[in-house]
Amino acid sequence: MRIGASVLCIALLLAAACQREKRDIRPSPTNLAIYDDAAKQSTLRPGGPITPQPVVRNPYNSSGYDISEGQRLFQWYNCNGCHANGGGGIGPPLIKTEWIYGGEPANIFDTIVKGRPNGMPAWGGRIPEYQIWQIVTYVRSMNGQQPTSAMPVRADTIETNPQNIVNRVPGQTK
């Protein structure tokens, strides 16, 4: 009886480490430092590969709150103006499997920070890094790259496009 109770308590405390519900209202700047290039396309360079760059991870991976914030910022900063809820228009769609500049979180971060040719503005230095990571996580969630338990199924606004498409590509895991 006592053993059962203490196992239960420990399990409950461990479960408190659930990433999905993490809410970081005051992100520490050191967690979000930008490296020179968030993701190199290749490690090949003349003279042999250099010491590996630190891996830049998405600090808000799987966090429901931050995906929701990314959704809000996507509207507020008018990403819709070119990317229309992920369907594209002036800009390319964001719900896709083939990414020109890479679809990994670090690549998308880079895209937003540095801008890209033919119209993608450079947001780095304008909006804080933590907000860029939130938008990155949201864009990833549009592609089903985030757990369904963290993604909102819909917004409380008019649905112009399906917000989140999963199982769109055969074999793609949630």
Partner: protein
């Protein structure tokens, strides 16, 4: 053994019958056995203990809230934590403490008061408890994983919608409701069936104890009200998990729809909590003032009226939403009218006490406290029923004060009185009366210290659900007093637990009927055997144990080598037929596990509903597989 009930010694084979009864009603052994209990005393006790733990959890949440609000601009709790804690406090108290506790007391007391051996559907009873327990575990798993609901215990959309409450928090809340209302519906069904069809012969409807009437009416209310909250929480769940638009304003849904459906449940819910407490008060007043209730018919009719009118009040929670004037006037009238039914009952109790021989036991102290606190809460309710006044005090601390006065005064104080009154029956020992009276005073003073200043705070403009407030508002003093009172209430709780624990060990032996009370549960052993009565009693009066011994009669002829009870007719309780009760069974537990897998998993992945249904279907097949009644070999 024969002294547990007063029997004429002429019944043949008495000793052998009683020995067979003990064997056929024996509880099975081991862990699997414990999971298979179907006797109502065991299940009732489980409800009571689990609900009491939920009371403590809710109390701790309240202490945390009050600590944060003791000083202005306090930073003891972040806004996110505060929102989670106040939502969990309300949710725990309303769904996981109040209703299940009343149900648990009913499950324990109703078969005893009606003079029968078990509830009508013992396995359903067990299933209901397991669903309640799994609901508790489900919600508190969420609480401990930073996924406690944080949008208020009534979860208004769009705040509780997918965009404004991300993550799983609201989903835990909405699905927990499913668990608890399945449990409530199970108990309501079997209470109605037990009361209608399994009363002791001669206990016609107008001879039923008032507590039995309360539970009957309350159970009907549960059946009509709970489906509304199923619907409301389903709107929310499906909006959040499968992208429906029930309450999405942008796509044609309406947040006000949710409010109507929720409050159609929400208002009867508080009467569902309150009505059994009224039954407790009647039982305690009659027993401890040692006279028959004044105005039995008026009491019954008042409670029935209460039950009906309670369904016509719900819009008074929505007076600030901009309703048409005629609608507001109607709901003002009905909200004030219900004060009449409550008032009639108060007058009848006061009349009983006035012309009785009140013996100031701890239980009666709680009844006096109930009258004082509940009447004040009822009067502030009349204030809230008035639309212009409600426009000022709605969603302020005035409302918080009101509902705590009616809920704590109207339900918790009678509940504590009921504990002091029936503890001897449930455990065989008397609680310490001195400590009980001290317990009452500490709770009474602490309660008033906490909640009376909140009336002032509300009138001074302090809204509800704020995690902090600025210094210049002048709310500091009353808030601090309220916090001190909260800690005094906590002390009262500790005193109660101390009294329970010490009385269980060292309390004086109670005997069958320490209070010389009138109803049937006092006719048998304390604690009752698992078959309740060796021979089911017959009643010829409203107050069976106040009838002369020589005039008491019993039912003989029920088989004792298997679990049997007597089914009687609805109106006059004439014996109708014998009813074989099921023996212990593991299937309710297995079914509850299967259903819980379906419910709990479905908030993460809809496929769990499918697999849960399949498993539940299999479990139900096991449950209902035709079996011979279990009989002892002779």
């Amino acid at each position: 053994m024969i002294a547990t009930q007063d029997l004429a010694p002429q019944i043949p084979n008495q000793a052998e019958e009683i020995e067979q009864l003990q064997r056929s009603w024996r509880h099975p052994r081991g862990v699997l056995g414990w999971l298979s209990y179907t006797t109502h005393q065991a299940i009732g006790m489980r409800y009571i203990v689990t609900a009491f733990i939920m009371l403590l959890a809710g109390g701790i949440e309240a202490l945390l809230m009050r600590t944060q609000l003791a000083r202005p601009d306090n930073n003891f709790l972040s806004p996110d934590k505060y929102n989670q804690i106040f939502t969990t406090h309300g949710t725990t108290m309303m769904f996981l403490f109040a209703v299940p506790m009343m149900e648990g007391m009913a499950v324990y007391l109703i078969p005893l008061m009606c003079g029968t051996r078990n509830v009508a559907f013992p396995r359903l009873n067990a299933f209901g408890y397991w669903m309640f327990l799994f609901g508790v575990l489900f919600l508190y798993w969420g609480v401990f994983t930073n996924a406690a609901p944080d949008m208020g215990w009534f979860a208004y959309p769009p705040l509780s919608g997918p965009q404004y409450t991300p993550g799983k928090r609201t989903d835990y809340w909405a699905q927990m409701i499913t668990f608890t209302e399945v449990s409530a519906l199970c108990v309501a069904t079997e209470i109605i069936a037990t009361i209608f069809k399994m009363r002791a012969p001669g206990m016609s409807l107008n001879r039923m104890p008032l507590y039995v009437w309360s539970m009957l009416i309350q159970s009907f209310m549960v059946i009509f009200a709970m489906p509304a909250v199923v619907v409301a929480s389903s709107y929310l769940l499906s909006d959040r998990t499968i992208a429906t638009h029930f309450v999405n304003p942008a796509e044609g849904g309406d947040p006000i729809l949710y409010q109507h459906v929720f409050w159609f449940f929400g208002h009867p819910e508080v009467y569902i909590i309150f009505l059994p407490a009224l039954g407790f008060v009647s039982a305690i007043v009659v027993a401890h003032s040692r006279r028959e209730i004044f105005g039995y018919t008026a009491m019954v009719l008042a409670q029935v009226a209460n039950g009906f009118i309670a369904f016509g009040l719900w819009v008074h929670h929505m007076f600030a939403t901009g309703l048409p004037q005629i609608g507001e006037a109607y709901f003002t009238a009905s909200s004030m009218m219900i004060a009449i039914t409550s008032g009639v009952q108060i007058f009848c109790w006061l009349a009983t006490l006035w012309a009785g021989k009140p013996r100031l036991t701890a239980a009666l102290h709680f009844v006096y406290g109930f009258v004082a606190i509940f009447v004040l809460g009822g009067l502030t309710g009349v204030v809230l029923a008035s639309v212009p006044l409600d426009w000022q005090v709605h969603d302020t601390y005035f409302v918080v004060a009101h509902f705590h006065y009616v809920l704590i005064g109207g339900a918790l104080f009678p509940l504590f009185g009921a504990f002091y009154h029936w503890f001897p029956k449930m455990t065989g020992r008397l609680m310490n009366e001195k400590l009980g009276k001290l317990n009452f005073w500490v709770l009474f003073i602490g309660f008033n210290l906490t909640f009376f200043p909140m009336h002032i705070l509300g009138l001074k403009g302090m809204p509800r659900r704020v995690y902090t407030y600025p210094t210049e508002m002048g709310w500091e003093q009353s808030s601090f007093i309220a916090t001190v009172g909260a800690y005094v209430i906590a002390l009262g709780g500790i005193l109660f637990i101390a009294n329970v624990l010490s009385s269980r060990r060292f309390g004086a032996m109670a005997g069958n009927n320490p209070w010389s009370a009138d109803s049937l549960e006092w006719a048998t052993a304390s604690p009752p055997k698992s078959y309740n009565f060796e021979y089911l009693p017959m009643v010829t009066s409203r107050y069976p144990l106040w009838v002369q011994r020589s005039e008491r009669a019993f039912v003989t002829g029920l088989r004792s080598d298997r679990r049997e009870a007597l089914v009687t007719t609805l109106m006059d309780a004439e014996p109708h037929h014998r009813y074989v009760l099921p023996t212990s069974s593991i299937w309710p537990f297995i079914t509850a596990v299967a259903v819980s897998i379906g419910f709990a998993g479905s908030i993460f992945n809809p496929w769990y509903l499918t697999w849960g249904s399949v498993l539940s279907g299999l479990a139900l097949i096991g449950w209902f597989w035709p079996r011979r009644p279990v009989e002892l070999e002779s």
